[in-house]
């Protein structure tokens, strides 16, 4: 079994665990934890997609040289994407936490079931 398969499975499992936490836990903080796990899972997935077996990091240092680069490196594009994704994930998590804080301030509860004034 190759590395990428294992990490692919890991990423899927991580996402599912995160999703389960997101959907099942009543505690708002833990919902956010679930979300960030889900997010991490997607990051691993993206990096894995870019991975090619036995290739090196996409940095053209002396070890790689400037010739036949395409035979030597892993795909740099997913890595570039994941950088963006990570920052976005941070932003979303931070904002969710700010919301959680505000909600807690208003009702002194972290149970998401207590925020149902709007419905139907």
């Amino acid at each position: 079994m190759a590395i990428e398969i294992i990490s692919l499975i890991t990423s899927f499992v991580l996402m599912l665990i995160g999703l389960y936490g997101l959907l099942s836990d009543k505690n708002i903080i833990k919902i956010i934890v679930g979300f960030s796990l889900f997010d991490t899972g997607t990051h691993i997935l993206i990096v894995t997609i870019g991975y090619l077996k036995g290739k090196t990091a996409p940095i053209l240092d002396n070890a790689v040289g400037l010739t036949d680069v395409s035979q030597k490196i892993v795909d740099p594009i997913p890595q570039a994407l994941v950088l963006t994704a990570i920052v976005i994930g941070l932003a979303v998590t931070a904002l969710m936490l700010a919301y959680a804080l505000k909600m807690y301030q208003a009702k002194k509860s972290l149970n998401i079931g207590d925020y149902k004034t709007l419905k139907w």
């Binding site: 997101l22 009543k26 997607t42 997913p78 979303v92």
Partner: protein, 1042 residues
């Protein structure tokens, strides 16, 4: 032409945004104006592109970032579509900022920056051709959205924001997975390159395409995975809800549009399914809402669903795709933003508190315009969009989709028009203070909506055949609404006369009859308006809308014109009817039946156009697919207007509670529009030997039963106007029956009835209306003995009821005689007997009407009443002259009519020998009868008068009752429930079974909606669960097909 590159929208805005982050008090002060300046700049840039591209001054522009060709770098495309959408985004952004002036000021630069960036992100997702770039800016947008939600203070907004973030977090995750896999399978992130790669053939790619599309769809809030969005609509600042609904929805929809290039046929199918489910489902639930913003939320979701369905249903290569898509989109855009903005002005959330708008006519007008635009009435873009959509779907043979769309639309009409009714009718509980900054955007969007309507109408096929002059007259009357009523009345009458003058020369005999009924009748019923004091705000525009629609109906030469006119007339009459004191609920039910009928007509028109080219009215006679169903649908549609049995329950209230001069308009004139429609389809069906025998046979029975039930209903009424209203139901039943016979005699009967009903019902309603106006009660048992006070009204009513009852020598008998002959020749004996029975029953209510009001004992409080206004009597007596002429010389009309009809129905014609009409069975000499009876009557009257010339009048109180003098003789006026015995015997026939049926149907849908909406438990986590379930379910269904 040198155009500013769209990249500057982003560069300038972001630069300014970053600059606004600078610390400093001075900056705080000017930052709002800075924001406005940037938004103005963006608007200008996108508008210049729109102008240039629309006029083909330049081609679409590609912007390559970083100076590399795609797919190696991110590129933006500014084409016509993009120009339209970014213009929409930026204009609404600009006006939204104006609207949100105070809140943006209060929140400070931080808030302004977020607002600005939201708009930028929307611009980018519209322009960008790179899939991951779109993802990034979608995220920017959703974070900014989350920030803007909390402009509104309070836990509601905060919790709504959190729900939103949770759901959009999951959705973003799905999108990201989809994107990375599409990269994996196609090796590109550029939409155009991916489409070239054609991912359809690779299964893994199919799944990633699925993920991408489903997440964009989820962003568009499909039913039922959209609880989070509804909370946001309800809880946010109205200014932001407007942006969310009209702009963010639009931009996201455009993303779906771009991505839909990736999809396969199957996915398009699902797209349409999802859209339709959303449209129907959310509108079903919308019916249960009483919070204005949440209701608008449901409506928004529904509208976007419809647009998604359009994406799925209509191939983008179709030449009409754009007009459908943008027609619907633009209506939604203007209307929804406008409504949310108004909701911020009204402030209170309950639907009923919107009556506050009543005191602000401009705002009320805008509100109603927006509502009508959402519900797809002309002249708004959505009308044309929906029209074309139905035609295209018919061309595809996709009837199920049409039905779903119409059902959803109907639900939407239910709650939106109920709401409009509240605003128009309920007593205002609060007064509004309107700030100019909040009014300006609404006003501009209102103007934009009408402009867009005209533009779209010119763009669709055959749209240029629509005559907008009646609407222009309505607009003039709206602008002149501040003038006193009599001036507007003169204008209206002249305009109606002018329509008639224009239509007259080209019309054949059949049309002339309707011109006379619609327009001459219109003039006659407008005359009483001179009596009305004050300004009568809103009356004349509505009336002219109705008469304009009727005029257009006559001149219509294609299906579009016809339907347009039909809808115009419907709205006009709705506004007329709702003017009555207690008519809110009745006008509403009138509208529901009318709209339901109109949708059936639309569906039928769709069927008619199937497989045919063009949309001329002559297609009705060459229907290729499902001709029977199409005809039946049309018939039922028209029968909602003629209030045939089962569809009649709206009429008594609507006609009974309308204003005194409106009742004759709607009863004597408007009902004939339905007759006009029926005649149209019957003509198209061909003559006697048509293929729709079963249909007309059924219609005949319906007509007969309608006549019976209508007349029976009338005799038990205590309310004079309702009595007449029920009588109209019955009379229209006769008319339907007569035309359904599809024979020469039958049609002559039908036309005679139509003309008679027009005349006597106008006389009766005018007379009774004037009396009601004078006595301020509808109840007949509160009247009595008025013959001495109102002799002219009495004579008018007497002549009216003699005509109605068909007693010789007046023209009513002509109808009866023709009827007998027609029935026996046709062989519809039993139906005929029922109709005859109904006719004798008519006699009962005629008597009740005239007796209870005019005869018997005068009431104490009416001792000082005087004759009704001259302006009411004038049209009555003009009509009486008409009745007399038609009675003495029916041949004037019937001869040429017969000649025309002989082309259609050559068999068993009526022949004329001088003034004697000869049928196959019998003969009838109206002129002689008129003379014989007249002479005899005069002789006998003279004799009796001579014999009792010394008679002395008796005072009212000079009476003996069971050997005693009653203390208060006026109380002995027997007028309440005078047909008690009849009620005991036959009352069961008018038991409100049909009303019960309709209220059961209503309850069913309401409780279904109530049941379904329990899934919106308010729990943010549940909403996230819905999103996942939705994805999984759609996926599993999808998986089974690939």
């Amino acid at each position: 032409m040198d155009l500013i590159s769209p990249i500057y929208i982003i560069a300038v805005s972001l630069g300014t945004g970053f600059f606004m982050g600078m610390p400093g008090k001075n900056l705080q002060r000017i930052s709002f104006y800075l924001l406005m300046a940037v938004l103005l700049f963006n608007t200008a840039v996108s508008l210049q592109w729109l102008y240039a591209l629309a006029n083909q001054l330049t081609g679409p522009m590609q912007v390559f970032t970083a100076g590399f060709q795609p797919p190696f770098s991110i590129n933006l495309l500014m084409g016509l579509n993009e120009a339209v959408i970014t213009s929409m985004v930026n204009i609404a952004g600009l006006l939204g900022a104006v609207y949100m002036y105070s809140v943006l000021k209060k929140i400070g630069t931080g808030g302004q920056v977020v607002y600005l960036i939201l708009l930028i992100s929307l611009n980018v997702i519209v322009l960008s051709r790179d899939i991951f770039n779109i993802f990034v800016f979608l995220e920017v947008g959703s974070i900014a959205t989350a920030g803007l939600i909390i402009f509104q203070k309070g836990i509601k907004a905060v919790s709504a924001g959190f729900k939103y973030m949770l759901a959009s977090g999951v959705i973003a995750g799905l999108l990201l997975i989809g994107i990375i896999f599409i990269y994996r399978f196609t090796g590109s992130l550029n939409i155009d390159t991916i489409i070239q790669e054609n991912p359809v053939f690779k299964q893994g790619a199919l799944i990633s395409v699925f993920l991408i599309l489903i997440s964009v769809i989820l962003e568009l809030k499909p039913f039922p995975a959209n609880g989070w969005a509804l909370d946001v609509y309800q809880a946010s600042h109205p200014g932001f809800s407007a942006i969310l609904s009209s702009v963010i929805g639009t931009a996201n929809l455009y993303v779906l549009y771009k991505f839909s290039g990736l999809a396969s046929e199957t996915l398009f199918y699902y797209l349409s399914l999802i859209g339709l489910v959303t449209f129907v489902g959310s509108n079903l639930l919308g019916m249960n809402q009483d919070n204005a913003r949440r209701l608008l939320g449901y409506s928004s979701v529904g509208q976007i669903g419809l647009l998604v369905a359009v994406l799925g249903l209509i191939p983008q290569a179709n030449s009409n795709f754009k007009i459908i898509f943008f027609g619907l989109l633009i209506s939604h855009y203007f209307a929804k933003a406008g409504l949310f903005w108004i909701s911020g002005i009204v402030k209170k959330s309950g639907l009923k508190s919107w009556s506050a708008l009543r005191k602000k006519p401009v705002l009320l007008f805008l509100f109603i315009s927006f509502i009508l635009a959402l519900t797809g009435f002309p002249p708004f873009p959505s009308f044309f969009g929906k029209w074309q959509l139905v035609l295209e779907l018919s061309a595809q043979g996709n009837i199920a989709a049409i039905i779903a769309i119409l059902v959803g639309s109907f639900f939407e009409v239910v709650y939106l028009l109920r709401w409009a009714g509240y605003a128009i009718k309920l007593e205002p509980v609060s007064t509004l203070k309107i700030k100019w900054v909040k009014l300006i955007p609404v006003l501009l969007f209102g103007v934009g909506l009408y402009g867009a309507g005209y533009f779209v109408s010119q763009a669709i096929p055959y749209g240029n055949t629509i005559n907008f002059i009646p609407l222009a007259i309505v607009a003039v009357l709206l602008l002149l609404d501040f003038l006193p009523a009599y001036i507007k009345n003169i204008i209206s009458i002249s305009a109606t006369a002018w329509f008639a003058y224009l239509l007259f020369p080209d019309a054949g005999t059949l049309k002339i009859i309707f011109i006379v009924i619609f327009l001459v009748g219109g003039i006659l019923t407008l005359i009483p308006g001179f009596y009305m004091k004050g300004k009568r705000e809103g009356f004349y525009p509505s009336a002219m809308l109705m008469f304009g629609g009727l005029a257009q109906l006559i001149e219509a030469e294609n299906l579009l014109q016809f339907f347009f006119a039909w809808e115009i007339m419907t709205i006009g009459s709705y506004f007329l009817i709702i003017r009555g004191k207690k008519s809110m609920i009745h006008a509403f039910s009138y509208m529901l039946f009318s709209v339901g009928g109109a949708y059936l007509i639309l569906l039928a028109f769709g069927l008619v156009s199937m497989g045919n080219t063009g949309i001329g009215l002559e297609l009705l006679s060459q229907i290729k697919y499902y001709p029977g169903i199409a005809m039946a649908l049309l018939a039922v549609g028209f029968m909602t207007k003629t209030a045939s049995l089962g569809l009649h329950i709206w009429l008594p209230g609507a006609h009974g509670e309308a204003e005194s001069d409106v009742s004759p308009m709607v009863s004597a004139i408007l009902l004939k529009a339905g007759v006009f429609g029926l005649i149209l389809i019957m003509l198209a069906a061909g003559g006697e030997q048509n293929n729709y025998q079963w249909l007309f046979y059924t219609l005949g029975w319906i007509g007969a039963l309608t006549a019976l039930v209508g007349n029976l209903g009338a005799i038990f009424q205590e309310d004079a106007k309702r009595l007449l209203a029920y009588s109209s139901i019955g009379q229209l039943g006769y008319i339907l029956f007569a035309f359904s016979m599809m024979s020469h005699m039958g049609w002559l009967t039908g036309f005679t009835y139509t003309i008679n009903h027009f005349m006597f019902k106008a006389i009766l309603f005018l007379a009774i209306g004037a009396i009601v106006l004078k006595l301020k009660t509808h109840n007949m048992y509160e009247m009595g003995g008025l013959i001495k006070k109102m002799p002219f009204s009495f004579i008018a009513v007497l002549i009216g009821i003699i005509t109605l009852a068909g007693i010789p020598p007046l023209s009513g008998f002509g109808g009866k005689w023709l009827f007998y002959n027609a029935v026996i020749l046709k062989g519809w004996y039993f139906q005929g007997a029922i109709v005859f029975f109904a006719g004798t029953i008519a006699f009962l209510y005629c008597f009740k009407l005239i007796y209870s009001i005019f005869l018997g004992q005068l009431k104490d409080n009416h001792r000082n009443v005087t004759e009704v206004s001259f302006w009411f009597l004038l049209p009555q007596y003009i009509l009486i002259i008409g009745v007399m002429v038609f009675s003495a010389r029916p041949d004037i009309i019937l001869k040429p009519l017969g000649a025309t009809l002989s082309n259609i129905f050559p068999a068993e014609q009526l022949t004329w020998n001088g003034t004697t009409a000869l049928s196959k069975l019998g003969y009838w000499d109206a002129t002689t009868i008129f003379m014989v009876i007249g002479i005899m009557f005069v002789i006998l009257f003279g004799w009796l008068w001579f014999m009792s010339r010394k008679a002395q009048p008796v005072k009212q109180f000079n009476m003996v009752y069971s050997a005693e003098r009653p203390e208060r003789p006026e109380l002995t006026h027997l007028s309440h429930n005078i047909y008690a015995g009849y009620n005991k015997a036959l009352g069961f026939l008018v038991a409100p079974g049909i009303t019960a049926f309709w209220s059961y149907a209503t309850n069913f849908f309401e409780s279904a909606g109530n049941f379904i909406r329990r899934i919106y438990s308010g729990n943010g986590q549940s909403y996230a669960i819905h999103v996942v379930i939705y994805t999984v379910v759609v996926f599993i269904i999808y998986l089974s097909t690939i």
